[in-house]
């Protein structure tokens, strides 16, 4: 069994290695624009421009469980090599999966062999294609998901969550926001997302 700390370190290492060298020299220390100091990731951006932050922080209902949605978010962010988003949403998914939190790490490692329902596997494969190039999602992929009782809403929400995280990942990394390197920072974020949902940061 993999411990979370060990998996975190592996994941962090893989993601950081995949990023451009400037991550070491600029990204971890300095954002591309003047953001509030000491505030990480998306929160620093939402504080920089609260009016665009407000619609970004809205979360709606879905036939998919919160845990499943967080797993899709973490999976897409992982594929985009976005350290901040994959770490924080993996932590949220772990929090929501409760006693079965290792499911999240197994799914992020290899969802096909992970102990998750076939429907979720089919949805993750659609999410992966949306991340790479949405035009590659085929009628067969959708049919396959529907054969495991995925509804139109499940499919719609999967595509929209995947597309939304392609936005969030680009926003967070495109401006080189602060990315914490301490696993406990993400654990706290995960718990906050799992309990309070997406709460706008207070004004400084």
């Amino acid at each position: 069994m993999i411990t979370h700390e060990k998996w975190f370190n592996t994941l962090f290492h893989v993601l950081s290695r995949e990023t451009q060298p400037s991550l070491k020299t600029h990204n971890l220390k300095m954002a591309h624009i003047q953001l509030p100091e000491g505030v990480a990731g998306i929160r620093s951006l939402v504080m920089f421009r609260p009016d665009t932050g407000k619609p970004l922080y809205e979360r709606e209902n879905s036939p998919l469980s919160q845990a499943e949605r967080e797993l899709i978010a973490a999976y897409v962010s992982f594929r985009n090599s976005c350290v901040f988003c994959s770490m924080s949403h993996a932590a949220a998914a772990r929090f929501l999966y409760k006693d079965e939190k290792q499911t999240v790490d197994l799914a992020l490692k290899d969802y096909q062999s992970a102990p998750i329902p076939d429907k979720l596997k089919a949805l993750l494969s659609i999410a992966g294609k949306v991340q790479t190039d949405a035009r590659t999602v085929s009628a067969e992929d959708v049919q396959f998901a529907k054969s495991f009782d995925a509804t139109d809403r499940d499919i719609h929400d999967t595509v929209l969550i995947a597309a939304a995280f392609c936005m969030f990942n680009r926003y967070v990394d495109g401006l080189a926001t602060l990315t914490p390197t301490d696993p406990s920072a993400y654990e706290q974020m995960g718990e906050r997302m799992g309990t309070l949902g997406y709460v706008l940061p207070n004004k400084q």
């Binding site: 624009i33 597309a163 392609c166 680009r170 495109g174």
Partner: protein, 196 residues
């Protein structure tokens, strides 16, 4: 045929935004603020960013719609065409070239935005807010393009459809029309029928 059941007279993003109005609301709001709100970038410049990203994602619907909007706002269609082909040699300011270069990097992956690309924009006079908005517009259009293509929404092929859509985006903006889509559906019905 779209992968999920959508209103057949609302092609592209419009059908999706009507399918789930709750998720559509924040997306519409964000777009309205970014593309139509107060900014030191003109609306035409912001539509150019949206068009370039959609074109790089090869999303036909979004590219055609935002090209139409940019053309209307700029009062000519040459600039947008040249921006899509080769923005470094298009008739736009040095600042816009630098911002479009950032948008093109964001389209690939946020991590591809380099310190050098940011420095170039700042040296050309771009403010932090303009850089922020460029990155967020580019990221938002990655969402739109993937949403529209990931569900295989209907992409009309007749230019008239996009002319009408461009007019609507320019004149009414991105919020949901007050009186819904009944009129637009009728318009679209005749527009779509005229090609089949």
């Amino acid at each position: 045929m779209p992968y999920i059941s959508l209103d057949e007279h609302l092609p592209g993003i419009t059908g999706l935004l009507e399918y789930r109005q709750d998720t559509a609301k924040p997306i519409r709001e964000l777009t309205q603020i970014l593309l139509r709100g107060d900014s030191t970038l003109t609306q035409g410049e912001r539509e150019l960013i949206a068009t370039l990203v959609s074109s790089k994602n090869q999303c036909k619907f979004c590219t055609a719609a935002h090209t139409a909007a940019a053309d209307l706002l700029l009062g000519e269609s040459e600039t947008c065409e040249l921006v899509k082909q080769d923005y470094e040699n298009a008739p736009i300011s040095a600042k816009m070239k630098a911002l479009l270069a950032i948008a093109a990097l964001v389209q690939q992956n946020g991590k591809n935005v380099t310190f050098e690309a940011i420095t170039r924009a700042k040296e050309a006079g771009a403010t932090d807010m303009e850089i922020h908005d460029t990155v967020l517009i580019a990221a938002l259009f990655c969402l739109y393009n993937k949403y529209v293509d990931g569900l295989a929404t209907f992409t009309p092929s007749n230019p008239e459809f996009y002319e009408k859509l461009g007019e609507r985006i320019v004149n009414l903006g991105y919020n949901r029309p007050k009186y819904g889509f009944d009129e637009i559906k009728k318009q679209n019905e005749s527009l779509i029928q005229s090609i089949s």
